[in-house]
């Protein structure tokens, strides 16, 4: 006979006393954690500032680039040498105009990726986050989804707006830009995926280093310093290794035709994928293992 009700004489008439111990209520399922991470994402002013800055920079550079390209084409029409140079490139100059701000977008959104995780640790928020989700990895993956999606969407939308701004400017110089052409669409999508990948790398760095300045510097080192340093150091090894830096995968990925002595598209995609997967897995292992 069960006499379990009498084993807790101290229990009063409060809510706690008549709760079903076996089923305390909903716990942290993945979609709930994703919702929580999205709330955290949208309730920080600094996040919104970085997203808006990205859009401004991408659109601004698109407009500047449209004007510069137009000027260049104007000169080319009166200078057969320049015209030959354009022809030799084999591509349409105007099509790359909307994505000309990508270098800055990757820096800003990569830093956002770093900050979203490093700030958890610098503010102590991590203790609340991982007390609510003690398995930790669901919270990490949910945040990664939010980071990747937001970086992709912001890059894609601002690139498209940059295109809309560039079209009338290019038109002044009799240059045509068709935003619906397969080349334009491909550039927009590949660039957005690339920036999302950089943001994911940023978040992995933020998780591993747990420090905002350190994470951002690591990201800058990887994407801006290393390519230049590798170029300056003499030797075949560095010349070859340079191709495999994550920041140098974007050119082969967006090239119209394969440029000699660069990675093939599939190779570049694999290299970039590796640069995302390895740090992300490492970050997950460390997050699971270390104390918060």
């Amino acid at each position: 006979m069960s006499t379990s009700t009498s084993t807790q004489p101290a229990a009063g008439p409060g809510r706690a006393a008549h709760r079903n111990a076996a089923n305390p209520g909903p716990g942290p399922s993945f979609f709930r954690v994703l919702n929580s991470e999205f709330i955290k994402f949208r309730t920080l002013l600094s996040t919104l500032i970085l997203l808006v800055s990205t859009a401004i920079v991408v659109v601004g550079f698109g407009a500047l680039s449209a004007w510069g390209t137009g000027q260049f084409a104007d000169q080319a029409s009166s200078d057969p040498e320049a015209a030959a140079a354009i022809a030799a490139q084999g591509g349409d100059l105007a099509v790359t105009v909307p994505t000309s701000g990508v270098a800055f977008a990757q820096l800003i959104l990569g830093s956002l990726g770093v900050l979203l995780m490093s700030s958890e640790f610098t503010t102590g928020m991590a203790r609340s986050t991982f007390a609510a989700v003690p398995k930790r990895l669901p919270a990490f993956i949910a945040k990664l989804v939010v980071v990747i999606l937001s970086a992709f969407v912001v890059t894609a939308v601002s690139t498209y707006i940059a295109g809309l701004v560039a079209v009338p400017i290019l038109d002044n110089f009799d240059l045509k830009l068709d935003l619906a052409s397969s080349q334009s669409v491909k550039l927009l999508l590949v660039t957005s995926v690339y920036v999302a990948a950089v943001a994911a790398i940023g978040m992995a760095l933020g998780t591993m280093l747990r420090n905002s300045a350190g994470g951002i510097m690591a990201l800058v080192g990887l994407f801006f310093v290393a390519p230049i340093a590798f170029q300056l150091i003499p030797g075949d090894f560095f010349e070859e290794a340079r191709k495999y830096l994550p920041g140098n995968t974007i050119n082969p990925l967006t090239a119209v035709e394969h440029v000699p002595d660069t990675l093939e598209v599939w190779q570049a995609a694999l290299v970039l994928g590796g640069w995302v997967v390895v740090p992300v897995v490492l970050a997950m292992v460390l997050l699971k293992k270390r104390d918060v």
């Binding site: 709760r19 942290p28 709930r32 709330i39 309730t43 700030s119 007390a131 398995k135 293992k289």
Partner: protein, 314 residues
């Protein structure tokens, strides 16, 4: 119920928590008392699964924290005031926490009202005073209406009204049958709040007993005795577990015997005693006594001893 078994946490060669075992029962307020650096917060972080024990286990209601299907509904914790992103508002912080467990918005408003944060809930936590940060931490701990509540130094930074509020809140929660585990380095606060006390010093459990027993200091009771033959009385009373200290001319302090035993010995041996005063230790004294060898950071007390002369001063 919280059960720790041989719980150990070492950082390099420094052992913060050294093989502690204890049980925190439901339906009462259990105080966790110890000087700064004694291992209270580390122990609490291990209960919450934030720090992994070097050795030993700790369970909440029989299950390690991380294995609960709905952790926030089982255990609520205030581990640190401002375990919050300070650029977020209190409301949004609680909303994000609640979302992980599908806790309704209504409950978020409830805990905000309960902790008196209604006026500042929409403001950034950055501008909060320490006391408001504590209230937010308590609100977060109560969010899931948990059976077990862990509060690390909850009265730190609270004004007197807040201190009374916390005291009444934890007593009420315990009266509902919940497990309440409360840490503090303030013994006076514990004397008023806790039913049971676990005292920790340098990572080891020094005492684990009902608060009444700790205050009366079972086996530690002292008695002040005055006699015109102190030397003879000392000789008569001497025995195992008894310590007699001559404090002044004709004044003795006896530990390990109760007044009746002392009077009996004196009578049997024809020693005149003219004062027999049982000394009841305050919790503060009991605590100092318990932890005097375990304090990590001793204060340097300047007793007017001459300062060593600096040679070749300026």
């Amino acid at each position: 119920m919280i059960e720790a078994e041989g719980l150990t946490k070492a950082y390099g060669d420094k052992t913060a928590v050294d093989g502690v075992s204890f049980t925190v029962q439901a339906g009462q307020v259990t105080g966790f008392l110890g000087p700064n650096g004694a291992g209270k917060s580390t122990t609490m972080r291990m209960i919450m699964g934030l720090d992994t024990p070097t050795a030993g286990t700790v369970t909440v209601n029989g299950v390690p924290f991380a294995r609960h299907t709905a952790p926030l509904r089982e255990i609520g914790a205030l581990l640190d005031a401002k375990a919050v992103h300070t650029s977020r508002s209190a409301y949004n912080h609680l909303l994000a926490m609640a979302a992980t467990h599908s806790i309704p918005r209504k409950r978020v408003h409830e805990v905000i009202d309960m902790t008196g944060l209604a006026d500042v809930a929409r403001k950034k936590v950055k501008g909060f005073s320490l006391g408001m940060g504590q209230r937010l931490g308590i609100a977060a701990a109560l969010l899931g209406d948990p059976q077990t509540i862990i509060l690390d130094e909850p009265v730190n930074g609270l004004d007197p009204e807040g201190v009374v509020w916390v005291r009444n809140l934890v007593k009420y929660l315990a009266s509902e049958g919940r497990t309440v585990f409360l840490s503090s380095h303030l013994m006076s606060e514990m004397a008023l709040t806790a039913d049971h006390l676990i005292v920790i010093g340098r990572g080891k459990i020094i005492a684990d007993a009902p608060i009444k027993d700790i205050i009366t200091g079972k086996g530690q009771s002292r008695t002040r005795v005055r006699s015109d033959q102190p030397d003879r009385l000392m000789h008569v009373l001497a025995g195992t577990g008894v310590s007699v200290e001559l404090q002044d001319h004709e004044l003795l302090e006896v530990t390990g015997l109760d007044p009746r035993q002392i009077a009996r010995s004196a009578l049997d041996n024809h020693v005149l005693i003219y004062e027999l005063t049982p000394l009841q230790a305050s919790l503060e004294e009991a605590y100092m006594e318990l932890t005097k060898d375990e304090v990590e950071y001793h204060s340097l007390i300047t007793t007017g001893a001459p300062v060593p002369a600096q040679s070749g001063g300026n």
